[in-house]
Amino acid sequence: MPERLPKPLRNWCMAAAAACLLPLLLQVPPALALALAAIAAVGYGFDKRWPGVLRLALLLGVAGYVLVTFGFNIGRDVGTALLAALLAVKPGETHGRRDAQSLLGFSLFAPFAAFLQDQGPLVMALSLLALGLLLVALSMLAEYRPGAPAPRFETSRARSMGLAVLVALPLALAGFWLFPRLATPLWGMPENALGRGGLDERMTPDQWIDMFASDAPAARVRFPGATPARQDLYWRAQVLWDFDGRSWTRERGLAGSEPASDPVLPTPSNVIDYELSLEPTDQRYLLVLDRPLEAPEGARLLADDSVVANAPVSRLLKYTGRSVAGPRTDLTLDPATRQRATALPAGLNPQTVALGQQWSAESGGSDVAVVRRALEWIGAEFSYSLTVPPTGLHGVDEFLFDTRVGFCQHYSSAFATLMRAAGIPSRVVIGYAGGYRNPYADYWVVRRMDAHAWNEVWLEGRGWTRVDPTAAVAPVRILDTIEDRQRAEALLPEAFTPVRDLADWARRSWNELVLSFDADRQARLFRPLGIDQASAGQLGLAFAIGAGAVMLLTLWYLMRGQPASRDPLVAAWLEFAKRLRRAGLGKAPSEPPLAYGRRLSEALPGQSETLVSLSRRYAADRYAPDGLDGEARRQLIADLKAFRPARKPR
């Protein structure tokens, strides 16, 4: 018969495990999270240990379900879901002390796994709560002895565990700041099987509706110097070259070289510096302000002016960028690139192709005239809407000659097709346009709803030039502020705008202070002390000194001990005995209060009555069945506190 934990103790262990599991469940698909929560609840409610076969079957079933949910890709998110599944099955086999210990130990790993997916303050708060509950459960488990009454939860226990965390904080912070960080990871972050929230390497008209409905931030930007005008805030993510009639894509191998052209010489007036923190996308593109002059560290600037990081961005990434406002003069276009930038799928969109060829013939060789004519046409006869009928095989023809309504994806796709038909090299650029300036702090937030697609055409004498056909039809839609948009769509009542701004500001502060601390910032930590770049050895020494000092402080605090009792009367009595010890009349540990009182009254004859009365009243409260009533107790506490030995005893 294996030992079984008493019910209250088991409940607390389960509560701690559930609190640990919660942040993890927030990271898995909702249906799976519900199923796992149900399994955990049933396992908790079951009084008997599940048979091994059942547990195995359950585990295999859940694991199979997870794999199906994620389409049999193995990734970080799959690992997270599997860990959640393991933990959810565990309560069904948790009955003894060892079971509870292994449950709690593995539970500790759950918040860690959650942090691999989301490092926001919410997950952090939930994890700290989980840690508190875990410590309470651990302390109860340590107190539990088979056969003895089960340890109970009291508020004092929660308080002492909270205190334990507070006391541990200095040491933890010393570790956090000073423990030498890795400048380069030892192994790469496993990628997620399902992407999250970024722009794909592919643009298919009609696919961005989800993004337009999300006000989650994609990036936050600060301009240390001059802030560009809002209509110049085009954030490049990817450049798409290849069109198959339905989707625009980029093929990695073709755009992998450094820019071949000479950029305009940056002059102080048109160079823009910015600091950008990019929310994780699990993709490799970096968001840069149009047009980038150089790539941030750990990334490459490609020939088409897009910037690609060496590894997928799986956590908040902070970098500084330099861009130049205005077009770049790369005046040559090699034949291979020209061919690629004018290629169209054969046999598709015949009307558009015919129109392009006709305009090209009528323009007299001026590409600028064709571009201008197309923009005028779009501005005059097209309208903007997010509700668009689906299109068929000749999607561009249908859009240009039939529906004439759509949003940026339709416009950029159709415009590029038309230009290519007219023989003008063109490509699609996707990214974000605009941004929203937080009124409480000096930064801009770019939201996922700011996603945008525009075009670049290659013009003789001007090089690749940005053209935004959507702006021709609905400039407001691109460059308006979120405020305007929300007023129009009533996503959120206006009254909440300050709340949202402040919340975003808090989130940004969290990002700045906590999330973006890394080896680089650590190395610069000792700049005030004159050490510009601290070496690993110096950091190790600093960690040893800091942690040592904090440990000494902690030791001193722990050795002090707590006040003997929460009972004010006992505390007052011990204080009383302490004062008398200083007078040379300490209480022997085994001495009962009455005997102590008698001894005191002999030693201090002048105060003997008071002393006898005090000890008698104290004994009456401590050892008589009913104790003293409230008023008498308060009086005794006051008297004990007021008592001072009159003089040194002989």
Binding site: F112, F115, A142, A168, L171, F176, V514, P563
Partner: protein, 322 residues
């Protein structure tokens, strides 16, 4: 109560054979437990949690995942402090007394160990263990706490409690702090009295005239239970009334003065002789006789009463082995 030893206990047991581990010799009371003789090792669970934390720190550093690192460092710091707290729970304790009432061989001996400490620290969840038995106790500041160990006994004579282990796994059960105690104390174990029907030896020569019935002695006199009294002698109803165990004394066998002679048991095995004599002592005392014990080494008595009984049983307990 038995429990599976954790990692720290098994390791501690092994390490205790190392020459450096204190104490190396028996010590006189009071034994002061200072920091130099306290050992701390993680329990199996603590080690498991430590490995988890190590993995978390490594993963957090590798991915530069700051919240994960923060959580791992906070947990690690709490765990580290719990090691310190376990150490501090023992540091400064004093074993001030160790004593036990003698018992008959085979019975559990209740060894009382009294601890004190100075300072204001609470010291809950202390465990004292020896030879596979454990006792738990708490020590509040300014008080004295007693741990009662039920040590099993097997043979008569001096029982050396041997090495006691004072330990604790509080506050979180991640580490066990312990200290070995080797108190210089001997505890007496009486020989197990012979069971069954045993007749007392015949009356001695000159006792008749001396023994007179004392004033107030009733035919059915009640007295307090003493170990060794037969169960059927217990007066259950008066016992229930007085909440002590009382034994009915039959006056049928009038008090006599007995000679309990080692030589009279010639022919019995050595240990059986001792057990028979022990039984005689108990029976004689119970029946209120005065008795004198003749051993090869000494003659004890005549006398009567708890002290005389103890002297006789002690002499029997300490008889050299045959």
């Amino acid at each position: 109560m038995a429990h599976a030893p954790d990692l720290a206990e098994r390791l501690g047991e092994r390490l205790s054979r190392l020459p450096l581990v204190k104490p190396r010799a028996v010590e006189a009371l009071p034994i002061h437990i200072d920091r130099r003789r306290i050992y701390v090792l993680p329990t199996g669970f603590g080690l498991f949690l430590g490995l988890m934390l190590g993995a978390m720190v490594l993963g957090g550093l590798n991915y530069n995942n700051n919240p994960a690192l923060m959580l791992a460092f906070v947990t690690a710091a709490v765990a580290h402090n719990s090691l310190v707290q376990a150490h501090l729970a023992l540091s400064g304790l004093r074993l001030v007394a160790l004593h036990a009432e003698p018992v008959f061989a085979g019975q559990a001996m209740l060894v009382r160990a009294a601890f004190e400490a100075t300072g204001l620290r609470h010291r809950p969840g202390l465990e004292l263990s020896a030879g596979g038995v454990q006792a738990a106790f708490d020590l509040m500041p300014g008080e004295r706490a007693e741990a009662v160990l039920a040590l099993p006994t097997t043979r008569r004579g001096w029982l050396e409690p041997g090495r006691l282990r004072l330990s604790t796994i509080r506050p979180l059960g991640l580490a066990r702090a312990w200290s070995w105690l080797l108190p210089r104390t001997r505890l007496l174990v009486y020989p197990l009295p012979e069971a069954g029907e045993v007749a007392l030896p015949a009356q001695g020569g000159d006792s008749t005239s001396r023994r007179t019935r004392q004033h107030g002695e009733q035919p059915h006199h009640l007295r307090e239970y003493r170990p060794g009294d037969a169960r059927k002698q217990i007066a259950w109803k008066p016992s229930a009334r007085s909440s002590r165990l009382l034994v009915r004394e039959y006056e049928a066998s009038a008090p006599r003065e007995l000679e309990l002679a080692w030589e009279a048991l010639h022919g019995l095995a050595h240990e059986t002789r001792i057990r028979r004599m022990a039984r005689w002592v108990i029976d004689a005392e119970r029946l209120g006789h005065r008795y004198r014990m003749h051993l090869p080494s000494a003659v004890i008595g005549p006398g009567r009463g708890p002290e005389h009984r103890h002297a006789c049983l002690r002499a029997l307990a300490l008889m050299p082995d045959a």
